[in-house]
Symmetry: C2
Subunit: 213 residues, 2 copies
Amino acid sequence: MSKTSTAVDWRESRRQFARTAIVEAAWAAVREEGLGALSLRDLASRAGITTPTVYAYFESKNAIYDAMFGQAATDFANRLAEPYDTDDPREVLVGSLRRFVGFCTADVARYQLLFQRTIPGFEPSPESYEPAVQALGGSRDLLTLNGVSDARHLDMWTALVTGLVDQQISNDPGGDRWVCLADEFVTMFLTHCQSPTRPARRSSPPRRTGDKP
Amino acid sequence: MSKTSTAVDWRESRRQFARTAIVEAAWAAVREEGLGALSLRDLASRAGITTPTVYAYFESKNAIYDAMFGQAATDFANRLAEPYDTDDPREVLVGSLRRFVGFCTADVARYQLLFQRTIPGFEPSPESYEPAVQALGGSRDLLTLNGVSDARHLDMWTALVTGLVDQQISNDPGGDRWVCLADEFVTMFLTHCQSPTRPARRSSPPRRTGDKP
DNA sequence: GTCTATAGCTGGATAGAC
DNA sequence: GTCTATCCAGCTATAGAC
């Protein structure tokens, strides 16, 4: 009688609740101490439990990092997938860029976990990683709507976006010195992509400009 | 008789030699184990000495990081200051971009130490940091030669450069998927900066594109 | 300056009572 | 599942002989 499916579900939901509570404590810890400085003692203390109890829900420290990664990737995908209040492809692109930068700057530890590989022995599991690639595919679709489909241009766009985020976080955390350049960035980028002069070759005539090719 | 200035210089140079040997061992260690995984035991072992001997030359682990930072910053500045075999400002700009990316991708640990703040308790001393700012000032001069002096455009350039490096290191280490876009990046950037349409205001009419401003 | 030896601490992870 | 108690490994840094 005790093993009805509802009882099982209830137990499972209780377990998930405890797991998310631990992950929340982990986020608080890394935001305060730094992403790489997460310790299970501190984490357990913040969650109001003891170290062994953590191992009742996660099999290792990296499993906690993986849960954090999965949650961050899901949040990231959901944020980018929210509807935009305009249909103009260019404005949507600008909005997505602002969202991207806003998401990253809102939580630096989360940004480091998601986009920089700074933790020595950790690599995210495919399940946790999947939402992130899905979200990046969405931004690829956005570029297609703007008439950008060349592989080189897609790579240029990703470099542009990550550079914007990186500078904003590194040199003006909490400010908007680079965020406010989003619109101008999109103008520059789309103008270039729609330019009739197609530089398919790589600056061929004046070779050797001073470096290894 | 033993305290002549030449004898002092000789002792001092011996000391500097030992210091650089330790720093070299440190570089080998971080390249192999990761920047954050540097341990004094491993470092001493690689240098052929013991842990206490390290403390005869550096007062702490962070002092070693600082020496590494200073050396990396100096190498960085020297690399960017090398002469270019052309006088065309645009080609020099492309060359400097390639040098920058090449320098960063040649040693990822060095890049992380110089440009990413990933080590918990470490911050470089002003003496070690100074060559880096000097080098960045040089690239500012390069932009001036290309007719770019607007503060917004300078910020866009730094974002562009760091984004290029970041993507190259993160998604194609050892390759040239983004490096080979350097020339096209410069074309896009300079074309935009020389464009007569000055967007001094921030996309004023179609405000609220979907996000917090 | 260089060593042996070790202090002092913190980390992840486990055993076993309850 | 949760705890107390503990193991064991690794770290930075120091003491003191030579």
